[in-house]
Subunit: 457 residues, 2 copies
């Protein structure tokens, strides 16, 4: 199995889950996976849940062997803006040591690297005593609703596995791989305010009418304190200070505050007290306004008091914040602060808790953790060191992959997340690409890791 | 000249001055005016100033006759949100005694009513000894920059007129016409805030980055006190309490607070202290947010920290607030309140002081007022009484027609403003309309008033 040629075929299946126009691409991606996995001796089936995209399940190995679940997603982000691509997004092309195309990194490249590693592993050890179960979903980019519904019903069928292995996170460079130990949760809602029954002329009616835009700004503007912390009572309930080893691990991360400031291009940082700027990305919760709109937004001016306005807000939550409690407090606080003249509504858009796994032999690690997982952390550390030259950093991540929390909730399984995306990969953006050197080393790392897992049992 | 058919043609010229895409509509509106005015025996010319929209000037009558300037504007507000219109905004349609379409009220309907009245007047009195000068501009909705520049240069050419007559203000009902004695000034600006160099993923970067939407809400949310007053030092400098006769006149206004509350459809009023809700409309200054935007505004959610955001703000000013001083204070205040991590820019969009004329024989009236204007107040009072059944109220108005201050400044002329807009007209909003009964009575009123003016000299 040639990595680039195989990935080219997978990319050609234009599997954009957000857009119904790409239904054929979704079906082709499933066919690709079925063919590749059957070729490796897996038994493959497609299941559906919640009227969603098919979930590809594949199984290889005997029931009594130790079991590992391999998670990935075959759907990709839309290619828009298409005109910004230098090569056609669904025709993968190799150039200067990278393979370009939508999904080459997120998440098809890492999946193909794993398939290549498995081919070699099964050729070398046809009776490798590991039971491997692929769960490959088609809705990661749109919220994983189908997989979540499927696991709610069938999660117990995977509970005898030791852990989930996946490669859907990032690392700073080929020289420094990160194993992600936590993902932030997410609580998303839309706040709408209504004032007058219809848009009003602000000259003829300005004075006695509470302008909904003013109310929206006052409400949203009240959600942070001047020090950058979130001004909602109870928001920080359950939030723990990061462990010393986690802070130490982050210090080894090869990116200084100055370099990061240059990357994001801000005049100054503004993070809440108690955490450094880089710590606040990974260890702290946030409340972000993602969008706001109301009134006249065109050229020039229009003197209107709009009837309504809205803000889209997401909170990133850390362990052990409870999204439901945070949402209840948020609603209560906003209702208390909402002026009498204004009607307010709040629509929940998404809610998922943070995910956190503690590597063994670290301060705060969970003694109840299963022994195979505990050993696996060490084996992964060794496999990464062998193929990338340096042991991985074990770090919490700022982003959210809500399905990881759902896997934990419905199967009880923790996840081992090895980061194969690099900052240059342009995930979700035009000209997404994946490093061929990364693919090569990842194949070796997967081979060594799975080999050592099997030897270990 | 049939009122509805003529207005339909005028409305079809989609003259949105705020949007360059409507250039053809602007040209068509000028053509319409030229045709209609030449048909009435006016000499018509178009002049341009400050690279702006054409100003249509039209002249009829002999040099030695007493002169009256007739002001109007042929431009209209944008039709957004277009989807809320029940009929196409630029195809005027009559329904249930009203004519619907953008500009049917503001300001095309009153202009056409005046044209119809003139047609009848000239038919009855071909040698009516009045010199009439139309000044019809195309930038009233965007700040009257061109007309202001033109008058700055050529204002003296109109100074021998007795006054300016216009119908670009409102009345509470067909039974109670208002002659407007004051207009609020306006100070408009756009506030832009910038944070990171590009849009950022709010999961991967949320924490140390000051979200521009947050900063915008905090800044804009700081501009009012809880009691509804404006929280900008010096904002109220020069603001005077209204005269007793003005408060008494307002009490005669046939609209109770309860009725007004129902019309605007608000749960409660929220006016600053010292003025009643209805007084705050006419006698008090305001700061209104007319539009706000930034980040993701589409369906669902997108977890982004946008690079920038904006708010469009206008203040309505009363006599004797100084727009320049208010703007200086506004800038100073916003700069002081702008957080370090955020770049802020403020672009002035419009600035014009309030206008105030005192009718004769009232407390505070100006003894230096010219005798023709003084008599004209009485003649207008009679013409209104004859055609609407009740004498008009002389009241200050909440809206702004900045050019009225400029006319005063550059020509020395005061303005007689007769209100033909009704509360149901939905000015600046979807489904703008104009009452056909109002059009009918207005034609009679214009006829009688101009006739009595001519007889008087």
């Amino acid at each position: 199995m040639d990595f680039a040629k195989t990935l080219e075929k997978f990319v050609a299946a234009a599997s954009v889950s957000a857009d119904p126009a790409f239904a054929e691409g979704m079906a082709r991606a499933c066919e690709f996976l079925r063919g590749a996995l059957e070729g490796l001796g897996f038994e493959v089936k497609e299941v559906r849940a919640d009227k969603g995209q098919p979930i590809v399940l594949a199984e290889r190995g005997e029931k009594q062997w130790p079991r590992v679940v391999l998670y990935g997603h075959y759907d990709v982000q839309p290619a828009d803006p298409v005109e910004k691509w230098h090569t056609p997004p669904f025709e993968a092309q190799v150039k200067d040591g990278r393979i370009y195309g939508r999904g080459t990194a997120d998440n098809k490249g890492p999946i193909v690297a794993l398939l290549c590693a498995l081919e070699k592993l099964f050729a070398d050890f046809p009776a490798l005593p590991l039971r491997l179960t692929f769960i490959l979903e088609g809705e990661e980019e749109t919220g994983s609703r189908a997989l979540s519904a499927f696991l709610k019903e069938h999660g117990g069928e995977f509970s005898d596995a030791a852990f989930v292995l996946l490669a859907d996170t990032g690392s700073p460079s080929l020289e420094q791989i990160v194993v992600t130990t936590a993902l932030r949760g997410i609580l998303g809602f839309e706040l709408r305010v209504k004032g007058p029954a219809a848009d009003l002329h602000s000259g003829l009616h300005g004075g006695p009418v509470y302008n909904p835009l003013q109310a929206l700004c006052e409400l949203v503007g009240s959600l942070h304190n001047a020090d950058g912390s979130v001004n909602v009572p109870g928001f920080y309930d359950g939030v723990k200070t990061p462990a010393d080893w986690e802070r130490a691990e982050l210090k080894k991360f090869p990116l200084s505050e100055q370099e990061y400031q240059k990357i994001v291009g801000v005049k100054a940082f503004h993070n809440p007290p108690g955490l450094s700027p880089l710590e606040s990305l990974r260890f702290g919760p946030t409340l972000e306004i993602n969008g706001i709109g109301g009134g006249y937004q065109g050229e020039g001016s229009k003197t209107v008091i709009p009837a309504e306005a809205f803000a889209k807000i997401t909170c990133r939550l850390v362990a052990d914040q409870d999204p439901e409690k945070v949402f209840a407090q948020m609603q209560k606080t906003l209702r208390e602060r909402c002026p009498e003249a204004i009607e307010m509504s709040i629509e929940l858009q998404q809610s998922s808790p943070a995910y956190l796994v503690q590597p063994p032999n670290r301060e705060n690690s969970d003694p109840a953790q299963n022994p195979v997982l505990s050993r696996a952390f060490g084996q992964l550390e060794n496999a990464v060191a062998a193929h990338f030259g340096t042991p991985p950093l074990f770090l919490r991540e700022g982003g959210s992959v809500p399905v990881i929390s759902d896997i934990k909730k419905y199967t009880g399984l923790d996840s081992l997340m090895v980061g194969l995306f690099l900052p240059q990969d342009a995930l979700h953006a035009p000209n997404e690409s994946f490093s061929l050197e990364m693919a090569e080393r990842a194949q070796g790392m997967f081979y060594t890791f799975l080999r050592s897992l099997a030897r270990d049992v």
